[in-house]
C-alpha cells in the first residue's frame, strides 16, 4: 500500500436548502454532510458506516460531484475536483466510478447489457467496432457473466447478476477509484459474499481503491482496511478495521457494534440505542450524539467535541477522550 492518498476529502459539506420561497430564499437548511474529512489510498478500502440518514450516500455522491458539494475540497491524485470545469471533470470521471445499491433502478431498462457496459467506451472514443465488442465481452467475463448476455436487457437478470452488470459498467473505463454505495446491501447473503469476493479480486487485480458505503458491519470486516463511522453528517471515529472492532472508543461506535447481530445465539442480547436519529434540520447542540449517549458528560450538550488522535491510526470526536489522548490533530482524521 502506497503512502500518498489517492483521494483526499477535507471539510466536505452539503447543505440542502429547505423549501425555497417566492424569491428563492430558503426557510431552513438540512446539513446532510457537515464538515467531513477522510482520505483513501491507492488499492485501499475505506468503509463509511452509519445509520440510515447520516449522510453516507450524500458524501459518496458529493465526492463524485453527482451532488454539488456546498463547500470543502476533494482532491484526486493531486487535482482539486471541485474546481474542475465541465470538460476536465468529464475526463476525470473516467478514473472515479460508482456502484449503486439498487440493482434494479441502476440499469437503464431500455438498453442492452452490452450497451450499458460499452456506451462510455464508445462515446468517449476509447474503443469501437470489433474492439469494443471484445472489451465488453472481456469485462463481462471478468465480473463472472457470460459474454453472450450482452444482447440481453437488464430485466432478464437476477439481482446478483444485475449488480455484476453495474460493476462491469463501472470497470469499463478502467477507473482507479470506485464508490460502492451500499453495493451489496440489496443482495441475498450468499450472493453478497460472491459480490464481495468479486470486488476484492478486482481490487487486487487493478489496484482499485474503494470508498465502501454500508450500514452492515459484518460486510465491513470482510472488505475494509479502515473504517470511518458517521453520525448526523459528521465522522465521529476512524480506525483500522481490526482496531475499531476490538477497541471502539466513541460511545456511538460501541453502540453500533453492540447492535450488530452475531451468528451466535448464546451471546447476550445487544443493548439497543435509545431514541431515533435526530433531524438534521435541527441537530442537537454540542455533540450531536449526546441525547442518545449513555455516557454523556455535563458539557456534551454545549461544546462540540474536537478531533482527537488516540493512536497513530485511530481518531475520535468525543469529550470522553479529551484528556486521555495524545495531542489532537484537528486536520487529519486518521494517521
Amino acid at each position: 500500500m502506497s503512502t500518498a492518498a489517492l483521494l483526499e476529502v477535507r471539510d466536505l459539506a452539503k447543505h440542502f436548502a429547505l423549501r425555497r420561497g417566492l424569491l428563492g430564499r430558503p426557510s431552513g437548511w438540512i446539513k446532510a454532510v457537515d464538515g467531513v474529512s477522510f482520505h483513501v489510498r491507492e488499492g485501499e478500502t475505506l468503509a463509511l458506516v452509519g445509520e440510515s440518514g447520516c449522510g453516507k450516500t450524500t458524501t459518496g455522491r458529493a465526492v463524485l460531484r453527482l451532488i454539488e458539494p456546498s463547500s470543502g475540497s476533494v482532491t484526486f491524485d493531486g487535482q482539486e475536483l471541485l474546481k474542475l470545469n465541465a470538460g476536465d471533470l468529464q475526463r476525470m470521471r473516467r478514473d472515479i466510478q460508482i456502484v449503486f445499491q439498487d440493482p434494479y433502478s441502476s440499469l437503464n431498462p431500455r438498453m442492452t447489457v452490452g450497451n450499458i457496459v460499452g456506451e462510455a467506451l464508445r462515446v468517449h472514443g476509447i474503443a469501437r467496432g470489433a474492439e469494443l465488442n471484445e472489451r465488453v465481452a472481456h469485462i463481462l467475463e471478468r465480473v463472472g457473466l457470460s459474454p453472450d448476455f450482452r444482447h440481453r436487457y437488464a430485466h432478464e437478470f437476477s439481482g446478483g447478476q444485475r449488480q455484476r452488470v453495474g460493476i462491469a459498467r463501472a470497470l469499463a473505463m478502467a477507473p482507479r477509484f470506485i464508490v460502492c454505495d451500499e453495493a451489496v446491501s440489496a443482495l441475498d447473503v450468499s450472493i453478497q459474499a460472491q459480490v464481495i469476493n468479486l470486488l476484492k479480486d478486482l481490487q487486487d487485480e487493478y489496484r482499485l481503491a474503494y470508498l465502501f458505503i454500508t450500514h452492515d458491519l459484518n460486510v465491513v470486516r470482510h472488505i475494509a482496511q479502515r473504517v470511518a463511522v458517521m453520525y448526523l453528517g459528521r465522522i465521529v471515529e476512524t480506525a483500522g478495521t481490526d482496531e475499531l472492532f476490538d477497541n471502539p472508543r466513541h460511545p456511538y461506535t460501541r453502540a453500533l457494534l453492540a447492535a450488530n447481530p452475531l451468528p451466535d445465539p448464546s451471546s447476550p442480547r445487544p443493548r439497543a440505542l435509545r431514541g431515533d436519529v435526530p433531524s438534521p434540520l435541527t441537530p442537537p447542540p454540542g455533540c450531536a450524539f449526546h441525547p442518545r449517549c449513555a455516557e454523556a458528560l455535563a458539557h456534551c450538550d454545549r461544546q462540540t467535541p474536537t478531533w482527537i488522535q488516540i493512536a497513530r491510526r485511530h481518531g475520535v470526536a468525543c469529550h470522553l477522550h479529551q484528556n486521555t489522548s495524545r495531542q489532537g490533530d484537528d486536520e487529519i482524521p486518521d494517521g
Binding site: 475526463r91 466510478q97 441502476s106 442492452t112 430485466h155
Partner: protein
Amino acid sequence: MHAQDSSTGSLIAHTESPWRLFWQLLQRDRLAMAGLGILLALAVVALLGKATTEWLVIFDPTTVRLVDKFRAPLSEASALLPDADRPLTGVYLLGTDELGRDVFARMLQGSFVSMSIGFVAVGISIAVGVVLGGIAGYYGEVRIGPVTVDTLIMRFTDAMLCIPIFFLILVVVALLPASIYNIMIVIGLTRWMGISRFVRAEFLSLREQDFVLAARALGLPAYRIIFWHMMPNAMAPVLVTATIGVATAILTESALSFLGFGVQPPFATWGNILADGKNFIFDAPWLFFIPGFAIFVIVLAFNLLGEGMREALNPKLQRR
C-alpha cells in the same frame, strides 16, 4: 466461486426488449387490437382516397350533378348524366349531396384530410410538449433572474391551460386564413400542455434515478443522457396521450368545420361534410350519419388503442 449466480446455462439467443414485451401485452388486448386494425384499414383508405381523388381521379369529389341531387346510397346514376360525370360503376355507393356530388368520393378525400390533420397536429403538440417539458425537467433549476426555468415554463403551461382552448382556436382561425395548414398548426399549438406536464414529471423522477446518475458519473454528455437515457423512458405515456390526442384533434377539426371555421370548401373533410349535411337531416339523413359514423369509428378506434397501450405499459401488469 463467484460465478454461481451467472447461470452458465440457458444461453438462448432469445431476448426481450421492453418494446417487444409491450407488443406482446398489447396483443392480448382484443379491443386494442381491434382499434389498431380499424386504424390500419382507415389509413389504407385514406392513402387510397388521396390517390384516387387527386392524383388518378377515379372518384371525383368535385363534380356537380344537378340532375342527381339527394340520391340515397346505392342508387343508380340518372340516364340524363353525361358520361364524363358518371360515378365509377354508375352507382352512388353513399349517395349524393345537395349539389349532386358523390358522397363516397368526398368521404375518401376527407379521410386523408381528417387523418393528416389529426397526425400533424399531434406531431406538433408532441414536439412542443416534449421540448418544453424536457427543458423544465432537466434544466429546471437554472435561474433566469429571480425565477427558475422550471417556474417560467410551467407557469406558461398553466396559463395556456386556463384559456378555453376552443375559443382561442376560434379566434385564431377567424383572424388567419382557414387553410388546412393553419388549422393543423393551431390545433397542435394549443394541445401540448398535458404532454409537457408529464414529460417534466417523468424527467424530474428520472433525473434522480441511479442509471441516470451512473450515466453522469461515466462523463456522458448532456444530450446523450437526455436523448438516450431519459427520453426513451419518458416516451411511453407520451405515446398513449398522442394516440388519444389524434382522436381529439380530429374531433376538434370536425367541430370547427361544423361551425364553419374549419377547412373551407372545395376541400372535403369529415367535419364539413357533416356540417353541410345537418341542413338536410330529415330529407337526406345519410349526409349527416355517414360522416358522423366515420368520426365516431375513428375516435373510438384511437381511444381503444390508447387505452390498451396504457394498460400494456402499466408496470404493475408487466412481469419483471
